[in-house]
């Protein structure tokens, strides 16, 4: 980073003076303006930008909500209703924040499946990918903490169930639970510290996002062919090509977001959370938010408490091992005819697990959840290593350019000079 080569040339005297003291303009120029991006990126590559936009929206709406919110067991529920009824545009801030969390997860799931499909986790992008898994874990923690804050029935019982999950950890579980509760059960000290942590974690996410983007700019972006940039003609400069595409996709995504805010603001929530928390009554049908449902189904598929907890956390952590579990030398699933079928089976299994997570834990649902859980883990532990060994991949195109124009054609166009694209290719 210190020896960051840049083509940025400061023009004004002030810019020269500043650049020689803190070369941040050069850093931005080489990262977001001149940075070479593969010319064949499709719209699945815009979700990184969409996710940064969602993080920004969540932080801004969250900071504003915190101006009106009271984090105590007796006042939290009322203060949320106060935001909804009394605060100017409070309803908008709250609906944007609550639905923003869901949209954040919509975008992150597309982003994760894109990475899995195109083999973006494979060398040399393992660290980049693992940073992404860490961001995902932090997002889950933040979303859970935030969901407890309105202190409705779902908030309270969600907090109870999740903190009881941690009590299953052998030896130290009870101590961890007591330190999280700050008492003998979920109560006032709990909501107080959950609010503090809910305010803290997004900044940690922002910090890891910086590392994630940094790692991305070291290795360069993957692309639908999975082959690296070989010459300047394989790439286009980040600005305007990627910039305008990212902004356009973000605007389209915001239309979906706005539709939820203005037309279906409570569709993704639960009516029970408009009932104040009552420690004597559990809602008849308790389910987490939709984005946790696949993991909830895995938890319930196991008849043993500790076993269920281990599998649930394992389902997230196993993602981090994908770079080493996948033995194929071909990145993109486009060129992997057998793995491609398993990949879509995996996507279907994840969706079915999500559906099962919302169903009552009885009869055929439990059996189905067990079969899907078995496949979920088998996909990582059996399919990824074995298919990579036995599969014959399709022929890869000679270059990114060739994949766009067809083999052997010459193009004039907006390619970069070879030198500008050289840095990422040395590692890719």
């Amino acid at each position: 980073m210190s020896a960051h080569a840049t083509t940025y040339v400061p023009k004004s005297r002030f810019a020269k003076w500043f650049e020689s003291r803190l070369p941040i303009a050069g850093l931005i120029h080489s990262s977001f303006i001149a940075f070479p991006v593969p010319r064949n990126l499709n719209y699945f590559w815009t979700f990184g930008a969409i996710l940064i936009a969602m993080l920004g929206i969540q932080i801004v709406t969250g900071v504003w909500l915190a101006m009106h919110y009271t984090a105590t067991a007796t006042e939290a529920f009322n203060s949320v209703e106060h935001i909804m009824r009394d605060v100017n545009y409070g309803w908008l801030l709250r609906y944007a924040h609550a639905n923003g969390a869901s949209m954040f997860f919509v975008a992150v799931y597309i982003h994760i499946f894109r990475g899995l499909y195109y083999g973006s986790y494979k060398a040399p992008r393992e660290v980049l990918y693992i940073l992404g898994v860490i961001i995902y874990l932090l997002m889950m923690a933040t979303a859970f903490l935030g969901y407890t804050l309105p202190w409705g029935q779902m908030s309270f019982w969600g907090a109870t169930v999740i903190t009881n999950i941690l009590a299953a950890i052998p030896v130290v579980g009870d101590t961890i639970q007591s330190l999280l509760w700050g008492g003998y059960s979920v109560g006032n000290p709990t909501i107080n510290r959950f609010f503090s942590l809910h305010y803290l974690l997004p900044w940690m996410i922002a910090g890891v996002v910086v590392l994630h983007v940094w790692a991305l700019h070291v290795t360069g972006q993957n692309n639908p062919t999975g082959i690296p940039i070989k010459s300047g003609k394989d790439a286009v400069p980040f600005t305007p090509y990627a910039t305008i595409k990212d902004v356009f996709a973000t605007v389209v995504f915001m239309i979906l977001f706005a539709w939820f805010i203005f037309y279906q603001p409570n569709y993704l929530g639960h009516a029970d959370n408009y009932v104040p928390a009552n420690p004597a009554v559990t809602p008849a049908h308790i389910v987490p938010e939709w984005y946790f449902l696949p993991f909830y189904a895995i938890l319930r598929a196991v008849p043993d408490k500790l076993g269920g907890v281990i599998l649930m956390f394992g389902a997230v952590l196993i993602l981090a091992f994908a770079p080493w579990l996948d033995t194929s030398r071909v990145r993109s699933t486009n060129y992997r005819p057998i793995y491609r079928q398993f990949f879509w089976l995996f996507v279907i299994v994840c969706i079915v697990l999500g559906w099962l997570g919302a169903k009552p834990p009885e009869g055929g649902y439990v059996l189905a959840a067990r079969i899907c859980t078995a496949y979920y883990f088998a996909h990582f532990l059996l399919v990824m290593p074995l298919v990579g060994l036995f599969e014959t991949p399709k022929a890869l195109p000679g270059s990114i350019l060739e994949s766009v124009t067809g083999p052997g054609k010459q193009v004039s166009g907006s390619g970069l000079p070879a030198g500008a694209a050289a840095a990422p290719t040395t590692k890719g």
Binding site: T160, N164, G183, G187, P361
Partner: protein, 192 residues
């Protein structure tokens, strides 16, 4: 010393090296103790505070108004506790259950106070993930958990998972035939 730096010739080790080793170890040890000493108050401050502990003093429950077969909810330390006035038939049925049928084997007598077998006092949160099971429901006429389907009998014993253990019995003692004190065992011993 200045001479050594300027010429780039290292001073002979011997005594000098020992002093550096000592400084290195002393600094490291001091740092470890310091980090621990600073971390401790942060972690400890998250434990239940004095007010929360004080609010967890024992409570008395009057049993006289509880009808045959009725279950009431009381709270101690923010935790839900069921007090159930069991019918004679329920008690007879529970005694007939063989230990081999139980996930967490325990006799009904071991879960009640001698001479007061009709009264069951148990924590009201499922031992799986803490939901409140609904009373008088399920095939064992005990409790049925709405969250993950655990079933308990009228002694609060788990009969079907995923709950791993019976509903725990809180510390309590009979003050008289119609009054119990929850939070300490008989003889004035305070609960941990």
């Amino acid at each position: 010393m200045a001479d050594t730096v300027a010429t780039g010739v290292a001073a002979p080790h011997g005594a000098d090296g020992t002093r550096r080793d000592f400084l290195f170890l002393a600094t490291g040890a001091g740092l470890a103790v310091g980090v621990g000493a600073v971390a401790w108050p942060f972690v400890s401050s998250m434990a239940p505070d004095a007010a929360t502990i004080a609010a967890g003093a024992p409570i008395e429950v009057d049993l006289a108004p509880i009808q045959d077969g009725q279950i009431i909810n009381v709270f101690w330390r923010g935790k839900l506790i069921f007090v159930r006035n069991r019918t004679e038939k329920e008690i007879q049925d529970l005694r007939a259950v063989p230990m081999s049928d139980l996930i967490d084997p325990q006799t009904d007598a071991a879960r009640t106070k001698e001479g007061h077998e009709k009264w069951l006092v148990v924590y009201g949160n499922c031992t799986h993930l803490g939901c409140v099971p609904a009373g008088h429901s399920g095939p064992y006429d005990g409790w049925a958990c709405p969250c993950h389907g655990s079933l308990f009998d009228a002694s609060g014993r788990v009969r079907r998972g995923p709950a791993p253990s019976n509903l725990p019995v809180p510390p309590y003692a009979f003050q008289s035939d119609t009054k119990i004190r929850i939070g300490e065992e008989g003889g004035g011993k305070a609960a941990a």
